[in-house]
């Protein structure tokens, strides 16, 4: 998949499908940014609403980039996330943003080839 060239420098992106852990709602495809700086995965709140997801708990303390902001609890959701042929059940957070942010909890389960000069990302 092509990098997102609207960012400078371009950002590696991938197409994912997000669906509920249980229930009848079908998965929704969404663009995802690959971000090794993120320990976890984040979905847009819009997507959580579309899927009819309810927050389940807050069993993790979330710490942001800015060290001056204290860690706090955020509601967590459980989803099935599909990247290529790999499907995984995982806990995600939801914030207002346009694309999914793929963190290391997902990336560490995948083999990805980042081809910077061609600005493409492939799942191996």
């Amino acid at each position: 998949m092509q990098y997102d060239i609207s960012k400078s420098p371009p950002f590696p992106c991938i197409r994912v499908e997000v669906g509920p852990l249980r229930g009848s709602a079908s998965s929704i495809p969404n663009d995802a940014k690959v971000d090794t700086g993120a320990a976890g995965t984040i979905i847009p709140t819009r997507l959580a609403k579309q899927l009819g997801l309810l927050p389940l708990g807050e069993s993790v303390l979330v710490k942001a980039f800015d060290p001056s902001i204290p860690a706090r609890y955020l509601p967590a959701y459980y989803v099935i996330l599909a990247v290529g042929t790999t499907k995984m059940e995982l806990k995600v957070l939801a914030i207002q943003r346009s694309e999914v942010l793929l963190g290391r909890d997902v990336l560490n389960k995948l083999k990805l080839l980042l081809d910077g000069p061609s600005e493409t990302l492939d799942i191996l």
């Binding site: 249980r22 708990g57 807050e58 069993s59 710490k63 800015d66 902001i69 609890y73």
Partner: protein, 164 residues
């Protein structure tokens, strides 16, 4: 203000539709009024009534006025919704009983699923607990809390901003 009024009316209609049988019961003396709620949002004026039936104490929400505030600047963030209110009440119950559960070796370091002021299941594996509860009761509101050590997740990326 108009938005809050509309929301309140909508929620009250949902309550009446969801709990017609409880409304027929005689109320017990105890009324719990939650005026402030710590966390990501604040619920105002949630009036909860407990009904004593021969079998158990039932728990219903009598009247709800909800406003959601951002803790960073005190402005209203969104309209909220009924699911969120019920989730918040489940959450509130978890924090009410958390200390007691932490002193009980049976629950130590476990995840606990809470709904309608009841512990509905526990497990040391959060995902297994969530899957089991959803299989059992469906995709409905419940809260999962962790007892004991809480893990921390770090976003060392400018892509994620946490509001102060």
């Amino acid at each position: 203000m108009r938005c809050a009024k509309l929301l309140s009316e909508k929620l009250e209609a949902s309550i009446r539709a969801a709990a017609p049988r409880e409304a027929e019961m005689s109320p017990a003396a105890e009324i719990v009024s939650v005026s402030k709620y710590p966390g990501d949002f604040i619920l105002h004026d949630v009036c909860v009534k407990r009904f004593r039936t021969p079998a158990a104490i039932r728990f219903t929400v009598e009247r709800v006025r909800v406003q959601e505030y951002s803790l960073s600047d005190g402005t209203r963030k969104s309209k909220g919704n009924w699911d969120k209110v019920r989730w918040a009440l489940n959450r509130l119950y978890f924090y009410e009983i958390k200390q007691t559960l932490e002193n009980d070796p049976k629950y130590r370091e476990k995840f606990v699923a809470v709904r309608n002021r009841r512990i509905i299941d526990t497990d040391s594996n959060e995902l297994e607990l969530v899957k089991r509860v959803i299989t059992k009761i469906g995709n409905v509101d419940f809260f999962v809390g962790k007892l004991g050590t809480i893990s921390e997740i770090e976003f060392s990326t400018p892509e994620f901003e946490l509001q102060e």
